[in-house]
Symmetry: C2
């Protein structure tokens, strides 16, 4: 196939649900000429509390689905899937697959001055220790402090964004990270950018927040450019959204995550893949 | 089969995850001589935000699994499954199946003095309008006020039981119910009994809380007694717990819900049923 044909193909993005839409929002900003195929596994959401084996099986199916849509590049926009399943699953497919861990880890290493970095995420992400490994692979003297914040996902989804209750819960959770004097904090879950303001207030101005969605979009732009896979400007850009359960709830929450209304949401049976 | 053989069989209980353990706790109290087989669908938890079609398919599999264990009676301890799937699924099986809606509705009707009843539950339970229908079937002049409280489930699971943040969220949610002057409130989700104290404080002493787990256990005791299906006293009581994902997290949360440690947790592939 010619490189022009490949350039025209969409970018495939999958997530356990709506969280990956924060990555989509960043792609929209940074790569407005690219078409997107998004799969949100709302029928089997959330991944973050499930076993490695289950998450791996889900990720395999999600990638299989996107490949059927002839995507040129796949983003595992789910931190839990990136953290526990991607190393294994990558080997099984002949495709370019990028998770959200590496871009976040890379940014953290380049930002920290005191070599003390905090990571917050779901239980699956934190238990996997993937961020710590990815950071220490780049600079082994960085000390990594990891913390699961399981209530942040439901709070973000329910629109409990700048409420007093959210602030109290953030203070409860983040206290241990404040005590260890980090200067950089990775938002290691695609839902967390929605709580950036509260998290930033609790951590204080001197702590830099790394948004893994933003860093991932930047990395995608770099890779597409280096590999000459950028879509030439002009022509029709089409975005397609697929979900594994009824699209209504997805569509409602998507407005909040994406800051714009999406149509074109189709339900699919992901267990077939 | 003789009635003695049937009496000896266990009671089957299923739930989307750990919530149904509040029903198990009540069965332990009220029917200490009965054996239990519990299935917690933690691999596909939560049901409450999913579509009717998906929940119905899940409930069908959960019941199929319990029937393979030769249970004499099945409790759908999940409000979401009881609310949206049970009427349909009951017809498909030759088995005695009780949901948690009817017992809760029955208790609400007998308790209310001013005929103004509140229902709180997951989105699926509230959207289904099942409690309102069940209550008005019994006494049509009762006015029912329904409210989804989606954050209560993660708060209960994370042990955010009597925290200030939980109190603030409860006050946010329940304000509309206070304004309409109900005298009875049904906790229409098996997780909610864990938040009874906070909910009670917010609603005030004059509002009676109906615990659907408690009411369901009472109803089971009544039915077993009427049908001569009670297990004769003496002999070995055995409880078995099955889950659809790794048992570790289930076991941790179970301690909080059940007030005792359970062993005997086995993982099963529920999609086979």
């Amino acid at each position: 196939m010619s490189s022009e044909q490949t350039q025209d193909r969409p970018i495939g993005i999958f997530d356990s649900g709506v969280g990956g839409l924060t990555v989509v929002a960043e792609i929209f900003k940074l790569l407005p000429g690219e078409s997107i195929v998004y799969f949100g596994d709302v029928g089997r959401y959330p991944y973050g509390g499930r076993s490695r084996e289950t998450i791996t099986r889900f990720a395999r199916q999600d990638i299989g689905f996107l490949l059927e849509h002839k995507v040129k590049f796949i983003i595992a926009a789910c931190n839990s899937a990136s953290a526990v399943a991607l190393d294994k699953v990558k080997e099984e497919f002949d495709a370019e697959i990028l998770g959200v861990i590496e871009p976040g880890a890379k940014a953290a290493v380049s930002v920290t001055r005191n070599n003390r970095v905090g990571i917050i995420g779901t239980r699956a992400t934190i238990t996997s220790d993937s961020y710590a490994k990815a950071i220490q692979k780049r600079r082994k003297e960085v000390k990594v402090f990891s913390l699961a914040c399981p209530l942040f996902v439901p709070l973000a989804e329910e629109g409990y964004i700048e409420k007093e209750a959210t602030f109290l819960i953030a203070r409860d959770y983040l206290k241990t990270l404040i005590d260890v004097d980090i200067d950089t904090l990775v938002l290691g879950c695609t839902h967390y950018p929605l709580l950036k303001k509260v998290i930033g207030e609790v951590m204080g101005k001197e702590v830099r927040l790394i948004d893994s969605a933003e860093e991932t979009a930047r990395e995608v732009a770099a890779v597409l450019s280096v590999r000459n896979l950028m879509r030439p400007s002009g022509g029709q850009v089409t975005h397609k959204f697929y979900v594994s359960d009824v699209p209504e709830k997805f569509s409602q929450i998507a407005d909040r995550f994406l800051g714009r209304t999406i149509n074109n949401i189709t339900r699919v049976d992901i267990t077939r893949y």
